[in-house]
Amino acid sequence: MLNLLLKDFKLMLGSKQSLSQRIISAIFSVLFFVIFVVVEVFLFKTILQTIGNINGASDAFLTVFLCVTTVIITVSDLFNAKRLFFDGKDIEQLSNRPVTNGQIIMSKLLYLFLIHVATSLMFEYPLLFAYGQIIGRAPIYFFTSLFYPVATFFVEMGIALLLVYPVWLFTKVLKKHFLIEMAVALVVILGLSLAYSYVLDIFIKLVSKNGLIQLFTTESIAKLIAFEKYAFPVNFLSDIFIHTKSGAFFPYMLISLGIFGMGLTVAVFAYNYIRNLALAAVNIRKKHAYKPVSVTKALIKKEFSLIAKNSDYIFSFTGLLIVQPLLLTFVVKSMNAALSAGTIQYFAALVPGLKDYVIILFVMLFTVVINQGANSYVTMEERTVKNMKTIPVPFSKQLLIKVAIPFTMSFVSLLASVSVLLLTKTASLQTAAFSLLSATVLLFIFDVVSLWEELSIRHGKPRSSFFSSLISYLLPITFTVCAVILSYMKVSTVVTLFGGLGVIILLSAFPVWFVFKNSGKLFLSLEAIN
């Protein structure tokens, strides 16, 4: 069993990765953890120091924070359990080893327990520690709190195990149906944007002291204190660990072991069922089921294959797309603050709507600069350009698919960013709509010009990115300058915004027309390596 446990730990640490990859991965994990814990403890301490004098408020906030970490850790447990129990390769490899099913399940549970305790110690213990420090608890409290992660294991892991099979089935369905997967991804992105905007709003209010007073009114604190009673399992745990009510221990253990027992039963049945399915599938694992798909689908699949293995996409593009809403909101908020302070405030008053233009400028800049990581449409083909030229598919269709994928990804990130700006009230509806419109237009122009640069690669020389780089900075700045001038001349904001957008479209109309007209010729002239 120890060997089985070690095997799972080795898999977790990525034994197939090189030492340098593992070191980098470990550094990033530690950094993430440190940042998370620092922010978490900072927020918690700030709140407790401010409203700690209100009766019951400290306990209520501890409960709220522990509830949040409980949800996060339960989700983490769920995905750990899914990975551990339903890994087809693992099931196949263990099937011909002299180990019993019971040993396999026990080793996996032990692994989950250790990971759960470690995670809980990292994320929950600092909260309990900070609470004890501020409230001035006796040393025994700091010691007994160390067992909090053990106590949470049965409930959190029980819920995770109850959900693990339905989640596995759901992800299987998603993998089979691309459109449903896209729809779910969109809903998740929007949900995360909303949640993110909410958290960001609270964070910014917390940072400014006036905001904190606005946020925590007597009514809101009373609501939180009332919530404490229903916050299962944290209400029981706080009775045991914080209020040291020994009477809460047995009911809690009964409930938690009941949940854990149910979860374990479901997980064991599901594991055996999947194991039988997987073993039956071993003999046909390498068998393929080719189904002819449309040319468009085949090309999209090929593009995703190229994208998935391209480090530029993963790190400089996809990664930045994910953080774009966060970065943009921080930058825009800072710019808004700067424009509302000191002498700049005076100049800002001369140009009505200046803040809006600055928001639009940054939305455009962020969108195109991030998209730069994904515009090597032809370069990524390398030698296979010849395939593009010899397959019986119109070049226009091939190029359209190549450009459409990063464009769509950028657009989704742009939509999320603008939604966050709107939801956090950083931008008005009008500004958000114009940001979306102008950044989309700019993205389109930028992608067309990038395509032209890609199609103009000759004699094995690297692509020149001069024009696309110029466009990514020049057009947004031109837009802003035009808007500022018009605004200074007391032209209405809507007319100004349309005027700025009109200038962008006018400036780029000829290059876009040129690329569309000549793309066929350029594609044929594109050098294919023999």
Partner: protein, 268 residues
């Protein structure tokens, strides 16, 4: 139904080479190149090249290095635009009807051009989808072709980046015939192949032509061309300067190298 559930695949059955389009041929010639001109800047590579390849012929196109063989093929397959002239592939103009023309041929470049990030199987699936190959034909063809070229079926589950040059070339050869094209165009196909694969390829080219299909091959290997081709064209100064019916030449293996050397002002 998984592909492997199809039990009636006879991997020794060369019927995959049989033409399905024979009755619909648009032209008397499989390939018809007329007055082809192509320059790179001031360098004139093709200067009025004319060539006609009949259906069912195994046609060799030879010439010394840098003389314009690959340029001719690039123009033929629609990969390069040319300055003047016309190219008909199975009766379709490569400039005005490129999609129809490209549907008629399978092409293999001298350097393998397959997507390193895909598995061999994924690449074949991609090609099959592009050419709308049915499920049954796909299974029959890829298994047959892989066996012929000694490309292990299990290797198809690995990423192409892990393949050797020869394996990549074999995969490209399989992909080029997967959709049963009427014309098989090969540009220096033996580069990087081991001797067994070269011998098998020679047999396959011959069989393909025997099934009424057209094979158009360029090679530096005069011996290979002289052994298998029906006719051969030699290119010099941007034109076809010699056209030989090798079936009418009793000492073809001796004569062809001599003629080749003579054309370029050398003696054997």
């Amino acid at each position: 139904m998984t592909n492997d559930n199809i039990k009636d695949v006879n991997v020794n059955d060369s019927s995959v080479f049989e033409s399905v389009k024979t009755a619909d041929r648009e032209s008397d010639f499989a390939i018809e190149i007329t007055d082809l001109f192509k320059s790179y800047g001031s360098k004139k590579v093709l200067q009025g090249l004319n060539l006609q390849v009949k259906h069912g012929e195994l046609f060799g196109f030879i010439g010394k290095n840098g003389i314009g063989k690959s340029t001719t093929i690039d123009c033929l397959i629609g990969s390069k635009k040319f300055d003047n002239g016309s190219i008909l592939v199975d009766g379709y103009d490569i400039v005005t009807e490129p999609l129809q023309a490209k549907n008629t041929f399978g092409y293999v470049a001298s350097e393998p051009s397959c997507y390193d990030v895909m598995t061999g199987y994924d690449f074949l699936e991609f090609i099959a989808s592009i050419y709308n190959v049915s499920e049954g034909d796909f299974v029959k063809n890829y298994r047959y072709l892989c066996r012929r070229l000694k490309l292990n079926l299990e290797e198809l589950d690995n990423r192409i980046s892990n393949y050797s040059h020869g394996m990549k070339q074999k995969l490209c050869l399989v992909a080029s015939l997967l959709y049963n094209p009427d014309i098989w165009i090969l540009d220096e196909p033996t580069v990087g192949l081991d001797i067994m694969a070269v011998e098998e390829l020679k047999k396959m080219m011959r069989e393909y032509a025997n099934h009424g299909k057209t094979v158009f091959v360029t090679s530096h290997n005069i011996d290979l061309v002289s052994r298998i081709c029906d006719r051969v064209a030699i290119i010099n100064e941007g034109k076809v300067v010699a056209l030989y019916d090798l079936n009418k030449e009793p000492n073809r293996r001796i004569q062809l190298p001599r003629i080749f050397m003579h054309i370029y002002g050398e003696e054997l």
